[in-house]
């Protein structure tokens, strides 16, 4: 694989893109941000090996692929910016004016606007991705963190970790239209694809709140119970839902497990043992596999989605945190 990569690097960029476009199945790569290593590990999801390690800024955490698949964005909190990795050259080529200590962010459907949570000054920063300029701020609660955009693009969700709310922000007016109180330290927000439910994980509260996005109220709570584990160790963080919204996976942090949840009944089906302090996750585009990052054990677990089993563990950099996989 290393030889393959070197060959690809020698090819003209146009040819490399052409190759990637014609062989999409073989080219699916996963990008892992390593919080302590200040690197992004690149995993080939065919061979399940690390094919490259990209040097980035300090404390990389939130990571996403742009809608056009050309770039990977990574929030480097201690450098107060979001860096842009060029997928073709696998190098940092630019940075975005995010505001201080960015952690998580989300894009609109068109990939034109980026919304970034800035933990240090209680704001969500709005960035024009084409011009790479800051076009606005929204004042939110204390320690903004989780970010999600509704499938219809009308509502941006931001969770604030010390205020303990999901803030509903109108994407047109950039005003807060509702605030929904959830359990302590809300870290991540995820919509069902049909927009019928918004899920918010509360790390310290130990629950996932299910919110009706129309009524803007909590309609249910997913709780977790693992024999032999005390309640305090169960700390839900990352959430992944299949496109058909039937099955969800929830990373439980220092419980070292991912909960598999029936997304319709909200019942936990089983717990999958993964590495230590599991953070975030991403599906391969065919939804066959789910990759989860294990912060303390410095590895990534690969879950077979249909079988609901962990099939592989891959060593990455120091303290892996986020994961992003191009969905085209």
């Amino acid at each position: 694989m290393m030889i393959g990569l070197k060959t690809a690097a020698l090819l003209p960029t146009g040819l490399a893109i052409w190759l990637a476009a014609t062989t999409p199945a073989a080219a699916v790569l996963a990008y892992i941000s390593n919080e302590k290593g200040n690197t992004v590990s690149v995993i080939d999801t065919e061979s399940w090996t690390v094919t490259a390690t990209i040097k980035v800024g300090q404390r990389p955490r939130g990571i996403e692929v742009t809608r056009d698949g050309k770039s990977v964005l990574v929030a480097v909190g201690d450098d107060d910016t979001v860096q842009v990795i060029d997928v073709a050259s696998q190098k940092v080529v630019d940075s975005l004016p995010s505001g201080p200590d960015p952690e998580l962010f989300t894009q609109d459907a068109a990939g034109k606007v980026l919304y970034v949570a800035n933990e240090n000054d209680n704001t969500v920063t709005v960035i024009d991705l084409d011009k790479r300029t800051r076009i606005g701020d929204v004042q939110v609660g204390v320690e903004p963190e989780g970010m999600a955009i509704s499938p219809d693009g009308n509502i941006l969700i931001n969770t604030s970790e010390t205020t303990n709310m999901a803030h509903f922000i109108d994407t047109k007016t950039r005003q807060i239209v509702a605030n929904v109180l959830v359990d302590a330290r809300p870290r991540f927000a995820e919509f069902k694809r049909d927009g019928s439910e918004l899920w918010v994980s509360s790390e310290i509260g130990g629950t996932v709140s299910v919110i009706d996005p129309v009524k803007k109220v909590v309609t249910g709570k997913i709780e977790f119970e693992i024999p032999g584990l005390r309640r305090e160790a169960i700390q839900p963080v990352g959430i992944g839902m299949t496109k058909d919204a039937k099955i969800a996976f929830i990373a439980l942090g220092p419980a070292n497990r991912v909960a598999v949840v029936d997304a319709v009944s909200h019942k936990v089906i089983k717990y999958l043992l993964v590495g230590q302090r599991v953070w975030h996750m991403a599906f391969t585009p065919d939804e066959k596999y789910l990759l989860v990052t294990n912060g303390v054990s410095n590895d990534v677990s690969v879950i077979d989605v249909a079988a609901q089993k962990v099939i592989k563990t891959i060593q990455v950099g120091e303290l892996p945190w986020g994961v992003a996989i191009p969905q085209r």
């Binding site: 933990e119 609660g141 010390t162 205020t163 950039r174």
Partner: protein, 393 residues
């Protein structure tokens, strides 16, 4: 900038139209004594606003949250001078402050608590570690945020035992508070399987903590004081009075680490703590106060945040609603220590992990792995329910 302005105006419009009523105001009092204790190290000298600086940050945090709920938080500071009566001050404050954050010594704290018993107001003890305030002298209107001496001693003992440093040379100061701390270390040694091979008392003979030729004298004094000890792994110092402990490291007769009141210290908070999102509160604190955050600052932040948290959960500024929520099993607070913090219902002590710090870094966090408990591992620290002498009333 323009967008920011529009955003801010928009936000104002939403809050003012959707929440047309006047905001609910929640008054929080802060009761403390003037003057600070002299410390051996200049670096440990508490600032004039030690503690209340944390409460001020929590007021900011509460008000950020309060904007979305039409709640407003106010802090009023009362400093007792020498000879002022804490009972009188507490009574006056309790008139329009249902919640009083208290940084007072044990006697004054009890006087204040008893004076406001009928007012329905509640005190939050953010500084004093005295176990007796949570045991025989516990009060139903005092919530304890500061960890106790037994919690601190147990936290250190678990680590020393994990490290296999089980033979302790215990050096105790001659003041009452030092003796109480030594009791906590004796108890911890017995609970977790350490052995105190010998005890020595370091008499406070008076004298200044700062002299121009101090180091030369100490360098001769400490090796002599610690010589001819039985074989030991670690020296544990019980010196709450700041008389000798900080003189021990690097000066003991035998080359041994020092723990307790110097060296590896157990504490509720430290300026070097940066795990579990703590960097965010450290940054906010430094930005607001232009100095580092101490344990008392953190404890005052927690007390004030608990009031804010209860107000947002109950959507109320009513003292009874807030207090009922704080005392209910539903209450928990996030305190940047990796897990939820809750109240022990038998004595209203906040359960919390304890940091072990060396003055530069967090070395470890207790409870240590493997110290199990049927209810909460945090209850392996300090006096537990079956042993308590507290009957809340």
């Amino acid at each position: 900038m323009i967008w920011w302005l529009i955003g801010a105006l928009g936000w104002w419009a939403v809050t003012s139209s959707a929440l047309a009523a006047d905001p609910v105001t929640i008054n929080i009092g802060y009761l403390r004594q003037a003057g600070t204790q002299a410390t051996l190290s200049l670096l440990d000298q508490p600032s004039e606003d030690d503690g209340i600086a944390g409460a001020r940050l929590a007021i900011e945090d509460n008000n950020t949250t309060g904007r979305f709920l039409n709640q407003q938080f106010k802090l009023d500071d009362v400093r007792l001078k020498d000879g002022d009566d804490p009972a009188k001050a507490a009574r006056e404050l309790a008139g329009d402050h249902a919640f009083i954050v208290a940084d007072l010594p044990p006697d004054a704290l009890l006087k204040a608590a008893d004076a406001i018993r009928d007012s329905g107001a509640v005190l939050f003890n953010v500084k004093d570690p005295d176990d007796r305030l949570r045991e025989a002298n516990c009060r139903a209107n005092v919530i304890h945020i500061a960890p106790t001496r037994t919690m601190l001693a147990d936290a250190l003992a678990q680590y020393l035992v994990w490290k296999q440093w089980k033979r302790w040379l215990l050096v105790v100061g001659s003041h009452d508070s030092d003796k109480l701390l030594a009791d906590a270390y004796r108890r911890a040694a017995a609970r977790f399987g350490a052995k105190i091979v010998q005890e020595r008392v370091f008499e406070d003979t008076g004298g200044a903590r700062r002299t121009d030729s101090g180091v030369a004298l100490i360098q001769r004094q400490i090796p002599v004081f610690t010589q001819q000890a039985p074989a030991y792994d670690v020296l544990v110092a019980a010196d709450e009075s700041e008389v000798f402990a900080s003189y021990l490291p690097y000066r003991t007769w035998d080359p041994r680490p020092v723990a307790g009141s110097a060296g590896l210290r157990p504490t509720g908070w430290d300026a070097s703590q940066d795990q579990w999102g703590a960097i965010q509160i450290q940054n906010r604190f430094v930005k607001l106060n232009s100095r580092h955050m101490t344990a008392t600052d953190m404890q005052a932040w927690l007390a004030t945040r608990m009031i804010g948290e209860a107000a947002s959960r109950t959507a109320s500024g009513d003292r009874n609603a807030i207090l009922t929520f704080l005392k209910s099993p539903d209450f928990s607070i996030a305190g940047f220590k990796g897990q939820r913090l809750t109240l022990r219902d038998w004595n209203l002590q906040l359960r919390q992990p304890i940091l072990l710090v060396d003055g530069r870094m967090v070395v470890s966090v207790s409870p240590q792995e493997g110290f199990l408990h049927q209810f909460s591992e945090l209850d392996t620290l300090g006096v537990d329910r079956p042993e308590t002498k507290c009957r809340l009333q």
